[in-house]
């Protein structure tokens, strides 16, 4: 437990001291989402229909963009060796780092999502389910992202490779995240979708750190 807190605190501190990196992810998110009105036209009905999807897809891409940071710097400067040699299980350390990743990228994305919803003319009924779904869904992105980031450590083409490996795996998050908003707007209720997202998170919370820890050990073996 103390190892979890120690690593979490350190990664948060590191994240905040590299504030420009964090801002970049959020700016990318906003910019990418606001390209859509230029791409499909500013017609309110059309934008309202695609708003939830646009927010989710761009959030997904922004999260992929930030995954590079998750283990790479620690791998390059030898910190990962030190972390892997601490008595705490590596999966706990992975969980701490994924949590820090979510707090420094997932949470800021959720914070600006309502503004994007407004600009994309999202139905007022859709805001609450969008935020709830992101609150449950974006941690899944950080967790699956941790697996992808660990697997691609030391690879020749890191960035695009992480996205290629992780995006197919997080498709369910996208489907149920958008589904929650659509269901609420059409009067069906977002609850079933949110429950599925919750189940996904509940499964990923213990399993993804184990898989990522396995991948990290492999990366350290060939370091």
């Amino acid at each position: 437990m103390s190892a979890f807190v120690a690593v979490l605190a350190r990664d948060l501190r590191l994240g905040l001291r590299h504030g420009a990196d964090l801002a970049m992810v959020v700016i990318f998110f906003v910019l990418a989402a606001l390209l859509f009105p230029f791409g499909v036209g500013p017609e309110a009905n059309l934008l309202a229909r695609i708003a939830a999807g646009v927010v989710w897809v761009t959030a997904l891409l922004a999260a992929m963009l930030s995954l590079d940071r998750l283990f790479h710097a620690d791998y390059e400067d030898g910190s990962l060796d030190q972390l892997a040699l601490s008595p705490a299980p590596l999966a706990v350390i992975v969980l701490a780092k994924a949590t820090a990743h979510w707090l420094t990228t997932g949470l800021p994305l959720i914070a600006v999502a309502p503004a994007l919803g407004l600009m994309l003319r999202l139905d007022p009924a859709g805001f609450a389910p969008l935020l709830l779904a992101m609150l449950v869904g974006t941690p899944c992105l950080s967790l699956f992202g941790a697996i992808g980031a660990a697997l691609t450590l030391g690879a020749r083409r890191g960035g695009a490779l992480v996205a290629l490996v992780v995006l197919p795996l997080v498709l369910p998050v996208l489907i149920f995240g958008v589904g929650a908003v659509e269901a609420e707007v059409t009067g069906l209720g977002a609850q079933p979708h949110l429950l599925v997202l919750g189940a996904l998170l509940a499964a990923a919370l213990p399993l993804a750190p184990l898989a990522a820890a396995l991948a990290l050990r492999q990366a350290l073996e060939s370091a």
Binding site: A155, L161, P168, P172, I175, F176, G179, S222
Partner: protein, 239 residues
């Protein structure tokens, strides 16, 4: 071949299987083609276009089966650290990707006359499309490292994660599809498969499976030789 695993026995086994699998594919594939194109009647609704099913459906089966083989080999590789298992997964992936692409292309060729469009976001086509990306991600990952053993081991983890995720992806795509079902599209399949259709279907599937085993053995043998080459070259450089 290192990590003190001796591939000799494995090599003996696959060399013994090879003539049988090659013979089975040489017999079953032409027979399947005959049943599919000549020996079976056209469907009363779909006419002769139903013949596309005899390659489309077995290709879909193979797409899934090969991924399961990959994930199983990945599990063996991780649990027993057996390098031959990594190698099997690595050799199977491109074959699986080809079957998956084959399934998508033939599906599209079937969809045009049946649905009037080349692509439908139908649940089955869509999940096969995602499967293709799982294959492509795996292949890209395995080939992204300078050290080939690192790539193979990373691939083993990814194949396993993908296998656990596959039912969830399938489930979510099905759910998504029921929400977005385009009303104009006529549904295919269902319980209307005539027993006369099963013969070409199963013959072709058997032929595909035998063919997969044959190509897999050839590829595994080539990969074993390549590893031996690398070790010999290193030995020469050191000696």
């Amino acid at each position: 071949m290192h990590r003190f695993a001796n591939p000799a026995r494995f090599l003996r086994i696959i060399t013994a299987i090879l003539p049988w699998s090659a013979g089975a594919s040489a017999a079953l594939l032409p027979l399947g083609l005959y049943f599919a194109l000549i020996g079976s009647p056209p469907d009363y609704q779909q006419g002769d276009s139903v013949r596309i099913m005899y390659v489309h459906v077995p290709a879909a089966w193979m797409a899934l089966a090969v991924y399961s083989v990959m994930a199983a080999s990945g599990a063996v590789a991780l649990v027993w650290r057996h390098p031959v298992a990594e190698l099997v997964a690595q050799a199977a992936a491109p074959i699986g990707a080809v079957f998956t692409a084959m399934c998508l292309i033939t599906g599209s060729l079937w969809g045009q006359p049946m649905w009037g469009t080349w692509w439908v976001w139908d649940a089955r086509l869509t999940s096969v499309l995602v499967l293709l990306f799982l294959y492509l991600g795996y292949i890209a990952l395995v080939n992204a490292f300078d050290d080939p053993t690192r790539g193979a081991r990373a691939g083993a983890v990814l194949a396993l994660v993908g296998l656990v995720n596959l039912p969830i992806i399938k489930f979510s795509v099905d759910w998504w599809n029921t929400l977005h079902q385009p009303a104009s599209v006529a549904r295919l399949g269902g319980p209307s498969i005539d027993p006369q259709m099963l013969l070409p279907l199963f013959t072709m599937a058997g032929g595909f499976a035998a063919f997969f085993v044959t190509v897999l053995i050839l590829r595994v043998r080539a990969e074993l030789l390549r590893r031996k080459l690398r070790v010999l070259r290193l030995a020469q450089a050191q000696g």
